[in-house]
């Protein structure tokens, strides 16, 4: 009986990859542990090892194929004389024209949601969030010699999530700096450099690790301007993936929006689209204050239309209405914008018109955009993947209550991640994170 060799998932967020090289050919014997192929994921090039022993009976996916779905059969393995069973239709469709796997628009993002485009930024091109972040850093580093990037694996490894890919080559080791695994130390060092006038970009491999350094972010970066009577500014950006990725467990799946947004002296930004990522990261780097820039790992590979203009920058502190509606306001940020838009689509099918606000910045909060919307729709639902208690949703609900209570036709409702550490099991993890139907249910409770 032939054994199927499947396209492996080599990272928690990988859904497809490029089969860049076969190291075995039909007829070769393989032992378990032999490297049989190389695969390029959204993060790195990885080797695929054989699990079983036998002879390669067939190779179903040719070298160089892109967009090969995880779990597609890529080869079969069996004993001498055995024939490959009728190869199933390959689960991938070779895309001769597609320049890159990541240029494919993910199904989750529907272009009609971009009907409210960025005003006056001209030409756009499909861009992944990953590319947008890289472009933002590179553009700012070209323009300002005081800007540099440091963090774990940002240089020679090309970034744990490939955000900084190629930047070491362009900017050299003085400006793209690999640090040891020493968050407390390198964050303090970067804050000290910022106090002396440099403009560091600190990459946390994930914001979960920023807890090792949170004293330097809060006590040193955020408070020193005030404590020094305005003398010691700290122009620094702390950036990296925040929140849940996929199946990485409780210590690596936490949203820090509420934690950092609590503290005066910090700005907190959470982009959703590629345009958000590029425009807001450029603004964050230029900002004379410490900015916590919360990215999302799952969004890194997603493609959006993004302005190409060299001058493109977005203001910190301004939300964006992603979808216009009249019956209810749904306020979300980061990947939850996606959930909110999907919910709005479902609601539209049921005759309910939802307005979706992408906060973009958590602190300072764009109260005006929220309040103007709620005055029109008279209802509000907040959506976040972080925990509900003292979360951003609590702040949205209170803000609305304070500013437009008389316009409300129903109590504000918040949708949030479940109040538990993130479980590992696939079914439990799915239960813990807000889904579009949670938002739909929340809306229907108040309409």
């Amino acid at each position: 009986m032939a054994t199927e060799i499947l396209m492996p998932a080599l990272s928690p967020t990988m859904t497809e990859g490029k089969l860049s090289k076969w190291l075995k050919k039909v007829g070769d014997d393989v032992k378990s542990g032999d490297v049989i192929a190389e695969i390029e994921t959204d993060k790195a090039t990885m080797e695929v090892e054989a699990v079983d022993e036998g002879k390669i009976l067939s190779i179903l996916v040719p070298e160089g194929a892109e967009g090969v779905a995880v779990n597609a059969v890529i080869a079969t393995l069996g004993v001498e004389g055995e024939t490959a069973k009728a190869a199933p239709a390959p689960a991938f469709a070779p895309k001769a024209d597609a320049p890159k796997a990541e240029a494919k628009a993910p199904a989750a993002v529907k272009t009609e949601h971009h009907e409210i485009a960025e005003p006056s930024w001209g030409e756009t091109k499909p861009t992944t969030v990953r590319e947008a972040l890289r472009e933002a850093m590179s553009l700012e580093m070209r323009a300002d010699p005081d800007v540099f990037l440091l963090g774990e694996e940002v240089a020679q490894y090309q970034g744990a999530y490939k955000i900084s890919q190629g930047m070491l080559d362009e900017f050299g080791p003085r400006r793209v700096i690999d640090t040891p695994i020493t968050e407390h130390g390198f964050t303090g060092m970067a804050v000290g450099a910022a106090m002396n006038g440099l403009k560091p970009i600190v990459e946390f491999m994930t914001f979960n690790f920023s807890m090792q350094a949170i004293d330097q972010i809060i006590n040193s970066a955020a408070k020193t301007l005030y404590m020094s009577g305005g003398q010691m500014g700290c122009p620094i950006v702390f950036r990296g993936p925040n929140g849940a990725a996929s199946r990485v467990g409780a210590q690596h799946s936490q949203c820090f929006a509420s934690w950092y947004a609590h503290c005066p002296g910090l700005k907190v930004v959470a982009p959703w689209s590629a345009a958000d990522a590029k425009g807001l990261l450029r603004a964050a780097i230029r900002d004379p204050n410490p900015v916590v820039f919360l990215e999302n790992e799952i969004l890194y590979g997603q493609t959006f239309d993004c302005p190409t203009s060299d001058d493109f920058v977005l203001p910190i502190g301004k939300a964006k209405v992603e979808r216009v509606g009249s019956d209810v306001t749904i306020v979300a940020f980061s990947i939850m914008v996606d959930v909110a838009l999907k919910a709005a689509e479902i609601l539209a099918g049921q005759g309910i018109s939802a307005e979706v606000i992408n906060l973009r910045t958590i602190r300072p909060l764009d109260i005006a955009t929220i309040v103007n919307s709620v005055k029109k729709t008279n209802r509000v639902v907040s959506v976040e993947e972080g925990w509900p208690f003292a979360g951003i949703g609590s702040e949205i609900c209170m803000t609305v209550t304070e500013h437009c209570f008389d316009w409300l036709d129903a109590p504000p409702v918040r949708v949030a991640g479940l109040d538990v550490p993130m479980p590992y099991a696939a079914n439990l993890e799915k239960l813990a994170l807000p889904q579009p139907n949670w938002v739909v249910d929340a809306v229907k409770k108040i309409i």
């Binding site: 640090t179 040891p180 970067a190 804050v191 040193s220 301007l225 005030y226 404590m227 009577g229 003398q231």
Partner: protein, 339 residues
Amino acid sequence: MAVTQDKTAKKNAKKPEPSMGKDELLQAYGTMLLIRRFEEKAGQLYGMGLIAGFCHLYIGQEAVVVGMKHATSEGDEVITSYRDHGHMLACDMDPKGVMAELTGRSGGYSRGKGGSMHMFSREKNFFGGHGIVGAQVSLGTGLGFSNWYRGNDRVSLTYFGDGAANQGQVYESFNLASLMKLPVIFIIENNRYSMGTSVERATASHDLSQNAAPWGMASLSVDGMDVMAVKAAGEIAVAHCRAGKGPFLLEMQTYRYRGHSMSDPAKYRTREEVQRMRAEHDCLDAAKKLLEDMGVTEAELKKLDDEIKARVQDAADFAQTSPEPDEAEIWTDVLVESV
């Protein structure tokens, strides 16, 4: 508890040629005396209720900052912990501005918003004044990083106590500075007690200068009660850093005469121990004796003392007459307003 300072200091300290001539020593003596008198006055104002909160006096340790000041140049950065008044005065910051910050007045260096532990002067390259034990060590490494990044020849003087020497980020910083060869002089002011816990009770390795060894960092243990020994060691460290050889660790064997803060009952050491240190190792007494040997007269020293007392009194007067910050100040300096 035995004070082991003499043994270690004599073993390691560099005491060859005098590192200062008469004029320079007189100047150093003046700065040490200014710090002593300033701190005595601060203690007095605290007792009168004019200074509140935490107030950590530097009395006894003056030779450390003054000796290092004489080993460095304009433009070198200084950063320290919350026991920071002496460092500011050694950086030539105005005693009026420092004292007015202690009293929480608008004439203070932080316009009354920082207090004893949080004062800064960009003009004098003094980067604070930090209240989280050990945090300034990483920040000071960042000051050294900025000099490395810019390719200038400045060094960062990063001060911390024997208590902070047990914090993890100190060793993260040692590693980073050694790895990147950053021009940072790490200065442990070992005054024997982290608050009420003696070095022997807090630190497994009793010779803190040896804590540089795992990172291949050069280090010296120094008699921190001798201003000329401090200067001589400081010059070695500064030359090492300016030559691009990376960081340097100086362990200053010193002693504070007063409590950890104003509210310290000081039950962890005997009165006799403090008296012995004051009588036998005081940095001002030692410098004064040297100056007299060099021919400086009693009258000259008296005149200097009077001038300093007058300066400190001026500072105290200013600190009491400078108005409290305007109430609108509560909302300023949270963020830099974007241009």
